[in-house]
Assembly symmetry: C2
Homo-oligomer: 253 residues x 2
Amino acid sequence: MVDRTSGVPAFRQVAADLREKISAGHYPAGERLPSERELVESYGVSRPTIREAVNVLRTEGIVTAEHGRGIFVRPPSAIHRLSRSRLSREARGRNQGAFLADAAARGFAPSSSVKIRFEEADQRVADYLRIDPGAEVTVRDRVMRANGLVVQLAVSQLPRAFTRDTAIEQVDTGPGGAYARLEDAGHPIGSFVEHVGARMPTPDEATALQLTGGTPVVTITRVAYQDDGTPLEVNDMVLPADRYEVSYEWAAD
Amino acid sequence: MVDRTSGVPAFRQVAADLREKISAGHYPAGERLPSERELVESYGVSRPTIREAVNVLRTEGIVTAEHGRGIFVRPPSAIHRLSRSRLSREARGRNQGAFLADAAARGFAPSSSVKIRFEEADQRVADYLRIDPGAEVTVRDRVMRANGLVVQLAVSQLPRAFTRDTAIEQVDTGPGGAYARLEDAGHPIGSFVEHVGARMPTPDEATALQLTGGTPVVTITRVAYQDDGTPLEVNDMVLPADRYEVSYEWAAD
DNA sequence: TAGTGGTCTAGACCACAGC
DNA sequence: CTGTGGTCTAGACCACTAT
């Protein structure tokens, strides 16, 4: 029931009550909540009010609604842990790059599709790569899946001058991935910088990543540098925040 | 106007149309949108439908609603850039710790409030610190502000054995901050690990950080290790995703 | 005081899931 | 077929902002 004198909106009281019941284990993970019409009865408010309360919990990522089935408590997602060691030369030597290294370490079935195109660099990419805006870049647009589920989007851009006549311009970059091909072509990787942020997904990203409710995405922009400091690649990654944790470690200085 | 035959819900059509007008510059950043009642007229739908469309944009962080004033296009936020150099010994030598180093670098007026308490470590913290659950930890609960605006929450926990009789148990830890005091006490910092993720804020966090609409938070769990590998501190930070970008750089290996 | 967003009602019909 | 969530209407009243 709802306290009409408290000044707190009814839908917030309902949301708070359901949130508390969920965290107290009254509705365990995976469990179905009472139907909206049952909640209308038990809280004594109208259905739009119940729906607004449920929307609060959906935006918080606590529940998901399934059309025709009900409202379910969202189980915690399996977390992919990424650490910088995924980019080590040693990992490249063993297999085909960062994503496959993660798959091997965590035992999921990886698959990915790649589209390759050639474009003129926009201002932002040109700044990262220290080339002129409009210079030609090779764009590798990747969708990565784990057990069929899309888990990562990545758009990698490299100056075309570094990729011509290499397998980087092919769908299959071969063992060790694009970084191994850069090294083959006389561009030894010297260092990486990753810029990490988070935001709400665009509608396109939400569709591609099958994001329900209020799940944010983690964005990582990685820049790979040659050992003389020349930028070789900028890679924009988008990951569902509920399925990833990224770790970095370093020695104090 | 809305196409009733397309199968796309009316509120999504309205949201998509407004989104497009905003990104096309028809409504520039900071601009007020037409009022809900005006939108009712121009799209030919009911007010709840308009409100649902506006809620989509609010969840995406594109607009904010201000009671009694209107709906406004959200300007991009000033970004705080954090890099690992904020934790260098050299930065500690210059001032009073990571947050003040950021303030000095970026020229905002920093302020913070600290609450100190002593607790028994929970399982998660005990795992990080490699101590027994229930062992006493010193908890430093900090709220950090830039020009008066809350920009960061941080809860730092250290085994009490390392903090007894040090300024870490005081509100003011002195020059160089808690890490400098640990080093004074014979615990030289050897390395750091940071685990980065993102999620929607809890209601409490949304209030504390004054988050409107669908702004996610970036979470960073930092563990500081002594040079012999002993964990010294675990620090859970919560930052508004629209105001922060965190960077890490390292040499390829 | 007028205009704004915030909340809420009591319905209606549709689309999907599952028996 | 029944029950579920998804969408939508046409109002109503409240609280806040600005003039």
